[in-house]
Structure formats: structure tokens, C-alpha cells
């Protein structure tokens, strides 16, 4: 096994490191931790955080790429690695991608979607829906399938419930230990929502997730739960692989544009004068180019570049990865202007505030005023826009990939899934499962991102809190 750090892998893990660092830093500072505590009190916020966490787990296991060791290498000889790069997720899901059918098959089907000419043992030739190579192979009698599915689902529910119960019990015990109360007291507090964190929402979401994931996992052992696509690949596998693409686009894009937006926005608002004029000019100009067209033009140009310099991209995976990174950058270029404008306005307001005037009365230098006084006081805006942009970017990826200016066609993403499937809308009976899987996964991800963003905004936006404080302080 030889690690292949893709560009996006490196950045994703860097992001994880940054988040962890921020969490540790904020944890020790009450004014930074306070809004997060408000988030943790929100049921919707915590429930969506759990869902996002599950998606993130899928995405992160899919962000460790390596060349697997080829089997059959002799002992003592130097190891030979496969040329293809695989991810940890691929290895975990080997049963899914290795059992490829010939072409379409419906969810949980045991026969193919299309007729084939089959030669019967007697030499007779007939057109029929052949049995799938893998889907439902273990069911000898076709009539047994429904029973088998139901039994598997029931088994899965039981396992799921048990796993959840174990996890919940351990968790409550740990919490009780930390708080130095008995387990019963802790459980009662959680049920009565007396805890700082909305644990009840966490547990309910985990229960729902367990009751969905385990049956699907068990079923996936014997069937194609979401069917197969045109070339017989398991749709569940494709959908799970798409999660990483969505997460990368949703997070790295904002991460890449963040330094520009923050630096330029604050500089424009604080320094004013010609700096402000130039920065405003730059972002109005960029903003005036229709976003999709700018992306289209840039991606087309990128494609030209890749095609004319094939020697720089050894593997298809690396090429697709660089295109993804480039897409993030160009999306960043088109989206930073909004945040920069917000920050400029905020910096304009802040520079007149008395604590900044006081700093100037000490002769504190501009760079220091920006880093010590302005930056920390606009971070909540940055954070809010970071989480708000996420869902927009995930949805945009699908549209762009559909137009053909999104990710590389060989890369799994919700957009390419939809794009490949929509041509089959006209077939009868309709091939609906690929679309359903893509839209379903995307909906759950985007919905939880939206809910989480709402919780974060409510907790961080001073206007919301000022409203409450005014109501409390009125009199």
C-alpha cells in the first residue's frame, strides 16, 4: 500500500485540522464558546450536525487514497503497486463495486432490467430478463425474494436498535461520569431537556440513522439496494462516492476564497480611500460577469489546458482531482465578492466604534487594529456565510456538472449521476432509481446543512440576540 495524497485530500485534512484547532481554541474562550453553546441547545442544529457528521465520515474515509499492493508479489521481491488509486472507502465497500452487473437493474431486483437473448440448455433460444450475476444470487426461488428482503430488513432493524442502545447507554454513562451524577439522573435530565446540549435530538437522530443504515447495509450484502446503472454499477456505491465530491466543493470553495474575501473586504472598509475604490472596482467587475458563464469559460479553458498537456496528469484520478480543485477555485472567485461586500460594510461600521478610536489614540498601527480589533469582530459573519454557502455550492455542483462544466465526467458526483440518468427518463418502465438516489442523498445533505446554518446564524448573529436583549432589558 502506497499513499497517494491527492490535492483535495491534503486540503480536506488540512481543513479538518483547522477545525479541530479552532474547536480547541474556542473551547477555552468563553466569548467564542458561548454562541456554540447556543447552537448545541438547538434541537434542529444538533440533529443536523449528526447527519452532517455521518456524511463527513463517508467523505473522510473517501479522502485517503493509495495504490493498493498487487497480489501475487513474491516474497523478497520489491512490492508492486497497482496503478489505480483507491480510497479507504473503496476498500470498505469492495462488495459493492466489485459486483458489477451488465446493465440496468431496479432496486432489490434479482433480474435484469432489459431482455437478453438466452440460450437454454436444450439449444433453444429465448428472450427473457436474465437473473442478475450478483443481485439476489443467494435466493434460489424467486418467490422467496420478498420474504428474504423483509427478514433481512427486520434483522437489520433489530441490529440497528441494539447498536443504538449500546451506544446510547455508553454515552449516557460517560456523560454521567463527567458530570458526576448517577446514570439515572443523567438520563432523566436528558429526557427532560435539562442538559446544556440537546442530547435528545442527537439520540433520536442517531436512532433514525441506525434504523436506516443497518438494514440497508445488510441488504446491500445480497442485493443492489438502489439498483444498478447503465453499465451495471451499484447505484448505492456511486451515491456514496458522490458524497465526497459534494463535501469538497461545499467546503474547499469557501476555504479557498476566504483569505481574499476577508482581507480585501476588511481592507476596503477600514482603509477607505483609493484602496476601497480599487477593491470595490475589482469585485464589481468580477460580479458583473454572469457566474455560470465565467465558470463555463474558465472550465472550458482548463479542459483545453489539460488536453494539451496530458503528460502532467499521470492518472485519471489525479486529473479529475485537479479539475475538481480548479472548479473549487473558480467557484471561489465567483462567490467571494458577496462576503467581501458584507465585510467591507461591517468594517466601515467598526472603524467608527469607540474601541477602535481608543486604539488609534494609543497610536496602534493599522495592521494591528485590523488583526486585533476588526478581524475577531467580523468572524461571526465569516462563519455564518461559510455555513450558508455550503448548501448553495452543493446544489450548484449538480447544475454545473449537468451543463458539462462541473467536475470531470469520470468523477462520481451527484451532478454526473443525474446527468447520466436523465436520458433514461424516456424509457418505459422508467429508470427512476439513479435519480431518486442522487436527489435523495443530496436533499438530506443540503437540508441538514441548511438547518445547521440556521442554527449557527441564530446563535451568532448579534441582531437576533440584540432583539432578545432589548426585550429583556426593556423597561
Amino acid at each position: 500500500m502506497k499513499l497517494v495524497p491527492l490535492w483535495t485530500d491534503v486540503l480536506v485534512w488540512l481543513l479538518v485540522a483547522v477545525l479541530a484547532g479552532y474547536a480547541w481554541y474556542a473551547h477555552r474562550r468563553p466569548h467564542l464558546a458561548a454562541p456554540w453553546r447556543r447552537v448545541s441547545r438547538s434541537n434542529a442544529g444538533m440533529a443536523s450536525l449528526v447527519v452532517i457528521g455521518l456524511f463527513a465520515a463517508v467523505g473522510l474515509t473517501d479522502s485517503i487514497h493509495y495504490h493498493p499492493l498487487l497480489p501475487g508479489t513474491q516474497a523478497g521481491a520489491p512490492p508492486v503497486y497497482s496503478v489505480e488509486a483507491r480510497s479507504l472507502l473503496d476498500d470498505l465497500l469492495t462488495p459493492l463495486w466489485s459486483r458489477s452487473e451488465k446493465t440496468y437493474s431496479a432496486p432489490l431486483a434479482i433480474r435484469s432490467y432489459s431482455r437478453e437473448t438466452v440460450e437454454l440448455p436444450g439449444g433453444e433460444v429465448r428472450r427473457e430478463f436474465p437473473r442478475l450475476r450478483y443481485g439476489g444470487r443467494h435466493v434460489a426461488d424467486e418467490r422467496e425474494r420478498d420474504r428474504d428482503v423483509v427478514l433481512t430488513v427486520l434483522q437489520g432493524l433489530a441490529w440497528g436498535a441494539m447498536a443504538w442502545a449500546t451506544l446510547a447507554a455508553v454515552w449516557v454513562t460517560v456523560l454521567a461520569r463527567l458530570r458526576r451524577v448517577t446514570v439515572q439522573t443523567m438520563a432523566r435530565r436528558i429526557l427532560r431537556r435539562e442538559t446544556q446540549v440537546a442530547w435528545i435530538a442527537v439520540f433520536v437522530t442517531l436512532l433514525v440513522a441506525a434504523l436506516i443504515v443497518t438494514p440497508v447495509a445488510l441488504l446491500a450484502g445480497g442485493y443492489h439496494v438502489f439498483g444498478t446503472d447503465k453499465v451495471g454499477q451499484d447505484v448505492l456505491y456511486l451515491a456514496l462516492k458522490s458524497v465526497r465530491t459534494a463535501l469538497v466543493i461545499g467546503t474547499l470553495t469557501t476555504l479557498i476564497m476566504l483569505p481574499f474575501a476577508v482581507l480585501l473586504g476588511i481592507a476596503a472598509g477600514y482603509l477607505r480611500g483609493w484602496v476601497d475604490d480599487v477593491i470595490q472596482y475589482v469585485y464589481t467587475t468580477l460580479n458583473s460577469i454572469p457566474g455560470v458563464l465565467l465558470i463555463a469559460a474558465a472550465v472550458l479553458m482548463m479542459q483545453v489546458y489539460i488536453d494539451s498537456h496530458p503528460e502532467r496528469f499521470p492518472t485519471a484520478v489525479e486529473r479529475a482531482d485537479l479539475r475538481l480543485l480548479f472548479l473549487c477555485m473558480i467557484l471561489g472567485v465567483t462567490t467571494w465578492t458577496g462576503l467581501a461586500r458584507l465585510l467591507r460594510g461591517e468594517a466601515l461600521k467598526l472603524r467608527e466604534l469607540e474601541y477602535i478610536q481608543a486604539a488609534r489614540a494609543f497610536g496602534v498601527r493599522d495592521t494591528r487594529i485590523i488583526t486585533r480589533h476588526i478581524l475577531p469582530n467580523v468572524m461571526h459573519i465569516v462563519l455564518i456565510s461559510l455555513v450558508m454557502d455550503f448548501s448553495f455550492l452543493v446544489l450548484t455542483e449538480a447544475v454545473l456538472s449537468y451543463i458539462g462544466v462541473g467536475v470531470d465526467p469520470t468523477m462520481n458526483s451527484f451532478g454526473t449521476l443525474i446527468n447520466n440518468a436523465r436520458l433514461e427518463m424516456a424509457r418505459d418502465p422508467i429508470v427512476w432509481w439513479t435519480l431518486a438516489a442522487a436527489f435523495g442523498f443530496m436533499f438530506v445533505l443540503v437540508l441538514s446543512a441548511n438547518l445547521f446554518a440556521d442554527a449557527v446564524r441564530d446563535a451568532f448573529d448579534p441582531r437576533v440576540r440584540v432583539g432578545q436583549a432589548a426585550a429583556e432589558g426593556a423597561g
Binding site: Y281, P290, M301, M425
Partner: protein
């Protein structure tokens, strides 16, 4: 005020120049015309002659900025930069790869685009404002709560789903309207109903939620308390006082998109086979027709800047504070 508007107009010029430079850099500097020719002709059949011919057909065989071989003004005019970028300022877009005149295409295709975009814009605005007003009226009740939940759910659904779902349900299953296509004149209606409904539905979630926040912000202001202290009913307060103030950000936010309605909707048009500018762009992108994409980038920028100008103007119309400055 006239000085103000004139200044805004003059401000647009450097921006357009900026857009022009960016697109030029993107199309001709990042990759040379040779690269584009290689790509267009396919890797296998590339001969230097074919590349030269391809470039000559499109006028890409000239130097980028300075033509050392030409004399006088032609030193600057007989260049790619002048021919391809400066000419855009007089809306001379040149020809597409298929030889058709881009300007002519734009003029014919903008009508179907408008036929779709204007109803979506107006109906969408009306629906969103109505829905948001209702949520604001029932604020802090279950109606408001579930309304917001519906909004969040609706904005979490991909536009593609609305289109595909609508086509499948309305056209395929119920056969109420054709799946796609377009006919000029009054016949267009039956082709447009579904795209319009889909377009409006796709915007309800984010639109209503945004307007609701604007309404709630206004409702918490002091003048609303004054209005209530006068003994006005909640509906009068909402319609005469809150709505009138909230319309300032709503209208000015809407005005900026009016000119860009000409550009049509990329996705909807291409899904429903409407021969507008949106599908023109998509086709051009898929055919890698750089001339068309470049023209549309410039046109889009012009329209956006026009939108900014209209926004400034509309402020002076709806807000007395700006009007009397």
C-alpha cells in the same frame, strides 16, 4: 440627482473594460489559439495546415495586441484584441463556429427567453411576497414555524429535481402539456406553463424566507409600535406601514435582475427545449464554441451593470430619503 446618475453611468465604463480584459485574458492568453485549434480539431488529425486554416477561419491568426506587419492604425486594429474584444463595445459579436451571426441569433433568441423569464419573475415575486406576508402575519405561531420548515425543505431541493419531477409527473404521467418544445406566438403558452410553474416553485423557498426576514425586521421597528399605538388594526399596520418600508429592499433587490432576464434561464430552457439565449449558451458550451460564450459573457455583464444602474434609479423612486437628497 442627474449628476449622480451620470456618475453611475461613467462608473460603468471602467467596469466594462475590466470585464473585457478578463474575458480576453481567459480566452486568448491562458490558452493560445493553437491549443484551442488542437482541441477543436481533435488530437489525431492535427496538421499544422489544418490548425492554420482553423485559426484563419475565425480570425485567430492575427497577433494578440500589436500587429508589427501592418501600418498606421491597423497596427492596433488588425489584432485579436481589437477584433475580438474592442468590437464587443459596439455589440459586434462576429460569427459563431457554425458561421451564423451571433448578434442575429441573440436578437431572435431573446424573445423566447423573455417569454419564459418575465412570467417567472413577476409571478415569483408576487407569490413570494404573499407567502412571506402571510408568515409575517402569523409570526411566532405554528403556521409560521411550519411555513419556514416548508421553505427550508423547498430550498434544499435541487432545481434539477423540480424540472425532472415536473416533466415526469405533468407531462409524462398526466400528459397535460408537452414535455418540451416551443412554438412562436400564442401557441407558446402550452409549452411555457410547466417551465414557469417549475421556475416559480424553485424560487419559493429561498425567496419567501428572505422576504419574511425583511418583514420581521421591519415589524420590530419603532414606527410600527407608533402605528399600533394609534389604534390601527394589525392588517393596516402590515400593509400600509410594514409593506411600504419592506418594499424598498425587496424592490431594489428585484430590480437588479430585470435586465438579466434577457439572458434567460440556462437549465430550464435546455430541459424544456425552449430556443432562448439560455439554451444557446448551453449548446455553445457543449460545442465548445468560444465565440458565443465570449459574446454572452460580455452581454451578461452589460445587462448586470444596467441592473445596478436601475437599482440606483429605483432607490430614488421608492425611497423619499434618497429622492430628496
Amino acid at each position: 440627482m442627474i449628476a449622480y446618475i451620470t456618475r453611475r453611468f461613467l462608473y460603468a465604463i471602467p467596469i466594462l473594460i475590466g470585464v473585457n480584459v478578463i474575458t480576453f485574458a481567459l480566452f486568448f492568453v491562458v490558452n493560445t489559439p493553437e491549443d484551442m485549434a488542437n482541441l477543436a480539431l481533435g488530437a489525431k488529425r492535427v496538421t499544422p495546415e489544418a490548425v492554420e486554416r482553423w485559426k484563419a477561419e475565425r480570425g485567430y491568426d492575427k497577433p494578440l495586441f500589436v500587429n508589427a506587419e501592418a501600418d498606421g492604425a491597423a497596427r492596433l486594429t488588425d489584432t485579436i484584441f481589437f477584433q475580438k474584444s474592442i468590437r464587443l463595445f459596439v455589440f459586434d459579436f462576429g460569427n459563431a463556429d457554425d458561421g451564423r451571426n451571433i448578434g442575429h441569433e441573440i436578437r431572435t433568441r431573446m424573445w423566447p427567453s423573455l417569454a419564459l423569464a418575465i412570467p417567472v419573475f413577476l409571478i415569483g415575486l408576487a407569490v413570494n411576497i404573499t407567502f412571506a406576508l402571510m408568515l409575517a402575519f402569523f409570526r411566532a405561531t405554528y403556521i409560521d414555524f411550519w411555513g419556514v420548515v416548508v421553505c427550508v425543505a423547498m430550498m434544499s431541493i435541487s432545481t434539477l429535481f423540480y424540472i425532472i419531477g415536473g416533466q415526469y409527473l405533468v407531462s409524462k404521467t398526466w400528459s397535460l402539456v408537452p414535455i418540451s418544445g416551443y412554438a412562436p406566438g400564442i401557441d407558446a403558452a402550452k409549452f411555457l406553463i410547466l417551465p414557469v410553474v417549475v421556475g416559480v416553485a424553485g424560487g419559493i423557498g429561498s425567496g419567501s424566507r428572505w422576504y419574511r426576514t425583511i418583514f420581521l425586521e421591519e415589524i420590530n421597528r419603532d414606527y410600527v409600535r407608533t402605528a399600533r399605538a394609534k389604534g390601527l388594526s394589525e392588517l393596516t399596520v402590515l400593509f400600509r406601514h410594514v409593506l411600504k418600508n419592506a418594499m424598498i429592499p425587496i424592490l431594489t433587490g428585484a430590480v437588479v435582475v430585470i435586465p438579466t432576464l434577457f439572458m434567460g434561464s440556462l437549465i430550464t430552457e435546455s430541459f424544456f427545449g425552449i430556443p432562448g439565449l439560455g439554451s444557446y449558451v448551453i449548446d455553445a458550451i457543449q460545442a465548445q464554441d468560444f465565440a458565443v460564450v465570449r459574446s454572452m459573457v460580455f452581454l451578461g455583464s452589460v445587462l448586470y451593470i444596467l441592473g445596478l444602474l436601475l437599482t440606483d434609479l429605483s432607490y430614488t423612486l421608492v425611497d423619499p430619503r434618497v429622492r430628496f437628497e
